[in-house]
């Protein structure tokens, strides 16, 4: 008897430890994703000129690109080998040891005449260390603006990235240069204060590619209640209330704390209160911080009201994304947020056979008919740029190779793959074949895409709008795109500014202190743990933490950017 008990205890100990191990595995990654998300939401790319850009669709601009005017003829003759550093991606790494083994890169090598040797790292940390290690591949594709302190110009100053003189590009990458000349806002965003071009940029070739994050709602419920999709803050409130009272929806608005922050950062909930975004934005040439404005009190008060009336999930600070998903799928919740492709699309697909539909909620406004100030927007430069490194023996050859993505032929290969295989021209529109959309070998759409093209990720080319229109398989997703792209975000969005080197430490110190305090207070205000009467005290405290200096530094950076 006693022996057996001991055995049981032994077994239990084992399981306890195992549990520890298992939970250990699970918790590592979400944190990481959080920081990435945080970073990315703070990251701004491109410039104010994006608006003028919007008026002439880039797709048109591309086709005007004079093809090989200065005579780079592909395949290149006597071209050598290039090493290319890149993160491994599961979309292809389950089938291939190296990206170079995919059909796409085989074609790329054949068409350009360059032989490619890949150097893969496992994750962003691996790439950062590779850069710290002092020996680089000839080319790297990476987001230096997010993962390298001091961004691209610092990488040039640190002698990692080969900074390109305009003359160098004119001579060795004429198609890319022509594209930059036609799109000065893009050019400005990737030019250092010294006038060097940093990279071969991944460019969003159309306005609809620049926004992908949205709030969405069960529009079938709205129809049932004969309510329109909410546009104003009041309508939104009424809709949530109707969900709760008339349809007995338990948690009308279900989001994680991070998603709520996204909704505020992307201005989806802040416009009705006269604030473009919770974070930094530009108004009349001045940098403003949403969370330090008087009007932010109204935003918090409004959220507090939603929270108090249990319209917003009472557990939003602790809830996990998969619970949010399951709440939406099972009708426990009616409103949530996420990316149009990887969230909305997935939810629609999962519930395809149910009575279930979703529609995007536009960024809210104060009065019906107003244009919202802000939305999710990446200024056309997502950041996964391709760089020639200082270890590259023949930068000219590398530039010849990278230029290919900006030629008409390269544009088609990078975006759609091989004609007759992965796409066909249907009424003048490149259309993915069943090889991509309904793969017989059981590859998912994104896996199949990764075999034949690169539009799903990023590289040295201009992303085509027809990619996203087909990647968004559902009508509701394409409508969502339409909904969220009708804002003034280009006017308010802070461009890809660069904090000057002497200010960087001070900036980091002030902002980390303020961010901690602010994040804590926001949640307290929303959950009513701190009365909004104390909001003035909160502003006062921000002042004492030197927020004015923070704004001043950002303003200097903006002025410097505008003067380029």
């Amino acid at each position: 008897m006693k022996r057996q008990t001991t055995k049981w205890i032994a077994l239990l100990t084992v399981c306890t430890m195992l549990t520890g191990l298992l939970t250990g595995c699970g918790t590592v990654e979400p944190d990481k994703t959080d920081t990435n998300a945080e970073q990315s939401s703070e990251q701004n790319t491109a410039s104010e000129g994006a608006k003028s850009n919007a008026e002439e669709p880039n797709a048109e601009a591309e086709s005007q690109t004079p093809e090989e005017t200065t005579g780079i003829v592909y395949p290149l003759e006597g071209a050598g080998t290039l090493t290319w550093g890149m993160q491994r991606n599961a979309n292809w790494s389950e089938r291939h040891d190296s990206w170079a083994d995919t059909h796409f890169v085989q074609e790329l090598q054949k068409n350009t005449g360059i032989t490619i040797t890949m150097e893969h790292v496992d994750n962003a940390d691996g790439m950062k260390l590779l850069l710290a290690g002092g020996k680089y591949p000839d080319l790297i594709t990476f987001n230096l603006n997010v993962y390298y302190s001091g961004k691209e110009p610092k990488a040039i100053a640190d002698n990692i990235v080969y900074g390109m003189e305009p003359e160098f590009l004119q001579e060795n990458a004429p198609d890319y240069w022509a594209y930059l000349e036609e799109n000065p806002s893009i050019k400005k965003a990737i030019t250092t204060p010294e006038g060097l071009i940093t990279c071969f940029a991944m460019v969003r070739g159309d306005e609809i590619l620049k926004s992908s994050y949205t709030m969405f709602i069960r529009d079938d419920w709205c129809e049932q209640l004969e309510l329109p999709i909410p546009e104003t803050a009041d309508e939104y409130y009424e809709t949530l209330k109707a969900f709760k009272e008339e349809l007995n929806v338990e948690i009308p608005l279900c989001v994680t704390a991070n998603a709520l922050i996204n909704l505020l950062d992307y201005g989806i909930l802040t416009s009705p209160f006269g604030i473009a975004s919770r974070g930094a934005y530009v108004e009349d040439g001045k940098v403003k911080l949403g969370y330090a404005q008087e009007g932010y009190k109204d935003v918090l008060a409004w959220l507090n009201k939603l929270y108090e009336e249990k319209l917003l999930d009472p557990n939003f600070t602790t809830i996990e994304q998969n619970i949010v998903d399951s709440n939406i799928l099972t009708g426990v919740s009616g409103v949530s947020s996420g990316s149009i492709g990887s969230k909305m699309g997935v939810l629609l697909k999962t519930n395809a056979e149910q009575d279930f539909s979703l529609a995007a909620v536009p960024s809210l406004v104060a009065n019906k008919g107003d244009t919202a100030m802000f939305a999710h927007y990446d200024n056309g430069l997502p950041g996964t740029n391709t760089y020639i490194t200082t270890d590259c023996k023949d930068p000219a050859a590398a530039a010849h190779f990278l230029n290919y993505g900006y030629t008409q032929e390269g544009h088609m290969l990078y975006n759609f793959g091989t004609e007759g295989l992965s796409y066909e021209m249907v009424d003048g529109i490149p259309t993915y074949t069943d090889l991509i959309m309904k793969n017989e070998e059981g590859l998912s759409v994104s896996q199949a895409m990764s075999e034949y093209e690169l539009a799903w990720w990023g590289g040295p080319f201009v992303q085509d709008r027809n990619y996203i229109l087909q990647y968004y398989e559902w009508e509701a997703q394409r409508e969502a795109l339409d909904t969220i792209t009708k804002t003034d975000v280009a006017k308010y969005k802070l461009p890809n500014t660069l904090i000057s080197e002497e200010n960087q430490d001070e900036y980091a110190n002030i902002s980390s202190e303020i961010n901690t305090y602010r994040a804590e207070m926001e949640l307290k205000f929303i959950r009513g743990e701190e009365s909004l009467d104390n909001f003035d005290q909160y502003l006062e405290n921000l002042k004492n933490m030197n927020i004015d200096r923070l704004i001043e530094i950002e303003q200097e950076a903006l002025d410097e950017f505008n003067s380029r």
């Binding site: 191990l21 089938r95 790292v121 496992d122 149009i340 990647y471």
Partner: protein, 293 residues
């Protein structure tokens, strides 16, 4: 127990109930993972709350997909290589190091010990370590997972403390009989600290089994990835919460969920099998190491 008071018996019963509850709480996540791994993924995604039995029909698709992943088996192989070779290095070096530091007559013993302990609290940091591995030519080699962590300082201290507990007179007697240090170590000391040895094998073994970070930065080719890194990569791809770009994930979330749970089971089974057998050394050995500082 029979002659104990009534109060004591009630206490025992309550105690057992409480401990059983705690055990259930600890066991449940594991049970959940096993049940989830054979549930219908669609219903699983929709499911919230407690999971008591497999949902809908039992499916082994998750396991089929995991085992058909071309990197799972090479991952197992690499992990076992690192485990086997790593353990030999770990144990030999740790025992030798600890033995030397435990000798009372060792010159400069105090300063040497302090220098060793210093490394427990301060390290050069990630980048210097990376540069070091790079210039030692261990990039993209399994040696990078074995040599840098060959001695874990805290384990060395545990081992040294275990040697302390052996009375000096034993080694002195051996010395009188003409034994040299190697003989004293192998024939006298080691048999007396078997429990601690078993614990260290476990500590080192588990750390090798769980390690992925070193592999993710030092290895370039995925054919050399250990199991945990392979699993991690598969798991991470289920999180497509990349705000920066709406990058599609490789699988649909239902499938991902299934794969995820199957993976956890596949990767934990070996450790689960080994633990109970080492457990009896575990309690004893940890105590020995801990009490004597």
């Amino acid at each position: 127990m029979r002659d104990k008071s009534k109060g004591y018996r009630i206490f025992t019963v309550l105690n057992y109930i409480l401990l059983t509850l705690i055990a259930v709480v600890c066991l449940y996540p594991f049970y959940y993972v096993v049940v989830a791994s054979i549930s219908d993924p669609e219903s699983l995604l929709r499911h919230s709350g407690l999971l008591t039995h497999p949902l809908k029909e039992i499916t082994l698709d998750g396991y089929r997909m995991v085992l058909s992943n071309r990197r799972v088996f090479s991952g197992y192989r690499n992990t076992l290589i690192v485990l086997a070779v790593g353990l030999v290095f770990n144990m030999v070096l740790t025992v030798l190091g600890a033995y030397v530091l435990s000798l009372k007559q060792l010159m400069l013993r105090k300063p040497l010990t302090i220098i060793v302990i210093f490394t427990m609290y301060f390290s050069g940091g990630l980048i210097p370590a990376y540069l070091n591995i790079q210039s030692l030519g261990m990039m993209d080699s399994l040696w990078a997972l074995i040599l840098p962590g060959a001695i874990s300082t805290s384990n060395l201290i545990i081992m040294r403390s275990a040697f302390y507990t052996v009375p000096d007179s034993l080694s002195e007697a051996a010395e009188m009989d003409g034994a040299n240090h190697l003989q004293i170590l192998v024939k006298v000391m080691l048999p007396l600290v078997r429990a601690t040895l078993a614990v260290l094998v476990l500590y080192y073994g588990v750390s090798h089994w769980n390690a992925w970070f070193g592999a993710s930065i030092y290895l370039r080719s995925d054919s050399k990835y250990p199991l945990q890194l392979v699993l991690r990569n598969i798991l991470i791809n289920s999180d497509s919460q990349d705000m920066m770009a709406d990058i599609p994930a490789a699988y649909s979330p239902q499938v991902m969920l299934l794969i995820k749970y199957a993976l956890i089971v596949v990767s934990s089974v070996p450790i689960l099998c080994i633990y109970p057998f080492l457990q009896r050394f575990f309690q004893k050995g940890v105590m020995i190491g801990a009490v004597k500082g």
